[in-house]
């Protein structure tokens, strides 16, 4: 029988599978000829990473060896890149001059790594990660040691980085986005991954934009420079920033192409005798970069080559990172959305994060970190579109938990044996806790913490400890109800603050992971609070997250009801001058500012400024020496003063001078809620210091310091903190009390509420009576001011956050028609 001729261009994983499918159905239908640009047989590209890390050899990863081709009568031309296809004559010709004719042709050219067009990209030592040759080149350099820089923190880049590290190189990963593998992982899982890589001694830099690759005189790579000027030495640079479908050949012969080679559901290109297969394909607008969909395509082509009518309908994909010791799985679509629900499970002590995204009671996305054994099960439910409402409650715990009646959590704890470990950090077992409660007659959580250390460190076992108290004490246990910060956690503000310090949590994703937030990204209530806590606790290390700030603090002006802004420059202690007033008058004229008003805090408010004008307004004000008045901030606002001994016949001290000094010392600091102060020169109190957050009444013998007043929603006179003799002492005490509040206050809790909560006497004891405590509060404030006292207006005049103030686009009428 005269067999038909099948020619395949490219011998990657997809055609390898296709031939297996084809031969299984019918070994006799075709004479097969393969052209491959690579000088070798078919191997498992996925396993290149274990070859790179040394865990496998090339021989281990061969799919079809030479004997397979012989047995199946397949002609394989190695090192034969196809350069011409004649569709009329139905022949293909390779660069090295081999021609073959076909009845059916399969183009499976895969894809090629994307090379960022950086200066220096052609230097010796700049590599990509795609085939065995790349791996061999990397292994060769690794022998010489030194540093490798991997550009790209996606799947390939991270596998390359881990492999090179295992080969003994120092490794830096540069990633453009804020979190690793952002296309497969949500930020929480990306954070865990980054931590794991750092633990392995890999230097991970996110938001890193490469600028130029540096070479030496011999044309070899010697390092890389980033946009911010940082230079990193390197003996190799691996670019792993993405792939592009290889479509040049198909395009050259006039097949329809877009990003990939366009195919219909039958996998035929625009020429009915030519199929396309694998990563080079674009099907229904999708190009795939993982093998599972390619294998489905392979099956469809095998069927259609035998005159069947199979159709490919697109695939959902799942990703696993193959780095030994890192368990990570992601599948489907895990974007946030209003019609979607999410189920999040975090187990901080085990380093586990799981998130399922549901829509209409079906799983549409899954991200698993640390514990991925249920990945395939979730993926199966996802692909089948199984309705999961029946198992919702236990779904996230995995397949093993299904089927049984849902456990009553308290009963489960009661059933635990006495030697079951409850607190992993401190190694406290159930028997110890129950015994101690009985023996010491403990009735509070704090008591149990003090006596057993259980839940005293990371606090994640608090729930278990409380359940044990419930079981042991019955109704005698009445937990003080803690109001959770928001719907994303069961922890209250105080617990969160305590844990941020004790667990040294220094980023918002870290807090959410370690404290087991139940939402993936927090909400508008907890994010600003966490941002403040981190700014306040780690002033030198934490990078302020502007997207977690309320708009006023993000753009450093006050939003008004019509979406315009108001601007209030600082007038130190409420003093101004003719030059300043003139500058303000000029700005008001120049920008046609509709309203100018004197505020209650002794300064001038310009209202109705368009957002786009803000930087220009600030620039003009800055020229006259003005800085931001932080009239928008949860931070130090104003220090009102009276004229004191300068002018007033009753004045006892230089109240204006002290007010200016306090303001200059403390401006720029962030606080849980706004802080307003005042200094009056005598008890007549013209500056109204006795209804402020902190106030000073000057007297002949010194300075009487007040705190915890209010004149807003609530009205409350201040409490007296104490009397001090000198201005220096007054400053130290005021700073110390504010710092104490900064460290202990709950977000949005004004000083008067905080002080009432912890007790006025306690504040007096720490600030007035305990000189060491006072001094250490003072020192911590001074330290944090080093990072806080930057005028936000001048920063923005010089270009920071430009995007905030300009529209992204202006659509002209014509274009919009």
């Amino acid at each position: 029988m005269n067999r038909k001729k099948l020619v395949i261009v490219g011998n990657g994983m997809a055609p390898g599978r296709m031939l297996e499918d084809l031969f299984e159905k019918n070994r006799e239908a075709y004479d097969v000829t393969i052209f491959n640009a690579e000088p070798r047989v078919n191997y498992n590209r996925l396993m290149l990473s274990p070859v790179l890390s040394g865990e496998k050899t090339y021989e281990d990863i061969i799919t079809h060896g030479d004997d397979w081709y012989a047995e199946n009568g397949v002609t394989l031309h190695k090192s034969a890149r196809v350069s011409e296809i004649d569709r009329e004559a139905r022949t293909v010709t390779s660069e090295n001059g081999i021609t073959a004719s076909y009845d059916k042709l399969v183009i499976a050219t895969g894809s090629s790594p994307f090379i960022i067009p950086l200066p220096g990209k052609d230097l010796d030592g700049v590599l990509t990660y795609r085939d065995l040759d790349d791996v061999e080149r990397m292994l060769e350099t690794a022998k010489r040691g030194g540093r490798a820089v991997v550009i790209g923190g996606g799947l390939l880049g991270l596998e390359a980085a881990a492999g090179l590290r295992m080969q003994g190189m120092d490794v830096t990963v540069l990633h453009l986005m804020p979190t690793l593998m952002e296309r497969q992982l949500d930020p929480s899982a990306g954070f865990l991954l980054e931590e794991e890589f750092k633990r392995r001694g890999i230097d991970v830099r996110t938001k890193a934009n490469s600028h130029e690759i540096l070479g030496d005189d011999t044309g070899k790579v010697r390092g890389i420079r980033l946009d911010d000027g940082t230079e990193i030495e390197a003996s190799i640079i691996v670019m792993a920033v993405g792939i592009r479908p290889s479509v040049d050949l198909a395009r050259a012969i006039g097949l329809d192409t877009n990003r990939g080679i366009l195919v219909g559901d039958d996998m035929r290109t625009s020429d009915e005798n030519i199929f396309a297969l694998g990563e080079c394909v674009e099907h229904r607008g999708m190009c795939y970069g993982l093998v599972a969909p390619l294998y489905e395509m392979a099956r469809v082509i095998a069927e259609n080559l035998l005159d069947g009518v199979d159709a490919y309908a697109g695939s959902a994909t799942a990703t696993k990172l193959k780095v030994t010791g890192v368990d990570l799985y992601s599948a489907g679509d895990f974007a946030e959305g209003e019609d979607r629900e999410e189920i999040v499970l975090r187990d901080a002590s085990a380093g586990v994060y799981k998130r399922l995204v549901l829509k209409d009671n079906k799983i549409i996305g899954a991200v698993l970190y640390g514990e991925t054994s249920d990945g395939p099960w979730f993926f199966d439910l996802l692909k089948k579109g199984t309705d999961v409402s029946e198992m919702r409650e236990t779904l996230i715990f995995g397949q093993a938990y299904q089927g049984g009646a849902p456990l009553d959590p308290t009963a489960a704890v009661a059933a635990l044996p006495d030697d079951a470990e409850i607190c992993g950090c401190n190694g406290v077992c159930k028997g110890k806790i129950v015994g101690t409660i009985k023996e010491k007659g403990l009735t509070t959580l704090d008591g149990v913490r003090a006596h057993t250390k259980a839940s005293n460190s990371c606090g994640t076992c608090t729930g278990l400890v409380e359940q044990l108290m419930q079981i042991t004490l019955g109704d005698a246990y009445n937990p003080a109800a803690v109001t959770p910060m928001c719907g994303c956690t069961t922890l209250g503000h105080d617990d969160v603050r305590r844990l941020i310090k004790s667990k040294e949590l220094k980023t918002i994703p870290a807090v959410m992971q370690e404290l087991e937030w139940t939402s993936s990204g927090g909400c508008a209530k907890c994010r600003p609070a966490l941002n403040y806590y981190l700014v306040s606790d780690w002033p030198d290390e934490y990078a302020d997250d502007y997207q977690s700030r309320f708009i006023n603090e993000r753009v450093h002006a006050n939003i008004q009801k019509d979406g315009t802004y108001s601007v209030v420059p600082r007038m130190w202690g409420g003093q101004t001058s003719s030059t300043e007033l003139r500058a303000i008058a000029d700005v008001v004229d120049k920008f046609s500012i509709p309203t100018v008003k004197v505020t209650g805090g002794q300064r001038i408010d310009m209202l109705g400024i368009r957002k786009e004008d803000l930087p220009a307004v600030w620039a003009d004000l800055g020229k006259a020496g003005f800085v931001s008045g932080h009239a928008y901030a949860k931070g130090l606002r104003t220090v009102k003063t009276c004229v004191g001994t300068d002018w007033c016949r009753f004045g006892t001290q230089d109240s204006t001078g002290l007010g200016v000094r306090i303001e200059k010392f403390m401006w720029g600091s962030w606080t849980p809620a706004k802080v307003k102060m005042a200094v009056s020169g005598c008890p007549r109190n013209c500056a109204e210091a006795t209804c402020k957050d902190v106030g000073v009444i000057c007297v002949d013998s010194g300075y009487e310091i007040h705190f915890a007043g209010a004149a807003g929603l609530d009205i409350k006179g201040t409490e007296v903190l104490g009397l001090v003799k000198t201005e220096d002492e007054a400053l130290e005490h005021i700073v110390a009390v504010v710092q104490m509040y900064r460290e202990q206050g709950r977000y949005l809790e004004r000083i008067y509420k905080w002080a009432k909560r912890i007790g006025y006497d306690e504040v007096r004891r720490q600030i007035m009576d305990d000189a060491d405590k006072r001094k250490s509060y003072f020192d911590r404030f001074v330290f944090s001011q080093k990072f806080a006292q930057v005028d936000p207006w001048s920063e923005r005049v010089s270009g920071k956050d430009k995007h905030e103030f300009r529209p992204m686009a202006v659509i002209t009428r014509e274009a919009a028609e």
């Binding site: 804020p178 952002e182 946030e336 990204g521 708009i551 939003i559 992204m808 919009a816």
Partner: protein, 113 residues
């Protein structure tokens, strides 16, 4: 049968918008807020809160929603509807992202039901 007319207008690049942030697009009298979520999804709403016209582009973006900066209504980025007990809807525009380019369909919007 009426053909669906789509008018995809390019408005910028993904990187132009900070994650969990928004940028404005001026379209004649109307301002459109274009949002980018933590997971890099893009949504477009008229920059006008259904409550009292607050500029939604200035709000905090979280969990597929934006919280209005004026009185904390929470608005769905996908549909423009107010969440929870509040009632109202703002215009939502279809968005397409190709590679990193963002397009908005100005011919079409989910009208208030």
């Amino acid at each position: 049968m009426t053909a669906e007319i789509r008018n995809w207008v390019p408005v910028g690049q993904l990187e132009d918008i900070p994650r969990e942030g928004a940028r404005c697009v001026r379209n004649g009298e109307m301002t459109i807020a274009v949002f980018r979520t933590a997971t890099d999804d893009i949504y477009a709403l008229e920059d006008k809160c259904p409550h009292r016209n607050g500029p939604l582009s200035q709000g905090i973006v979280h969990d597929g929603c934006v919280t209005c900066p004026l009185h904390n209504w929470v608005i769905s980025l996908e549909t423009g509807t107010a969440q929870g007990a509040d009632e109202g809807q703002t215009l939502a525009f279809p968005v397409r992202v190709e590679e990193t380019r963002i397009y908005i369909d100005l011919s079409y919007s989910h009208e208030v039901a």
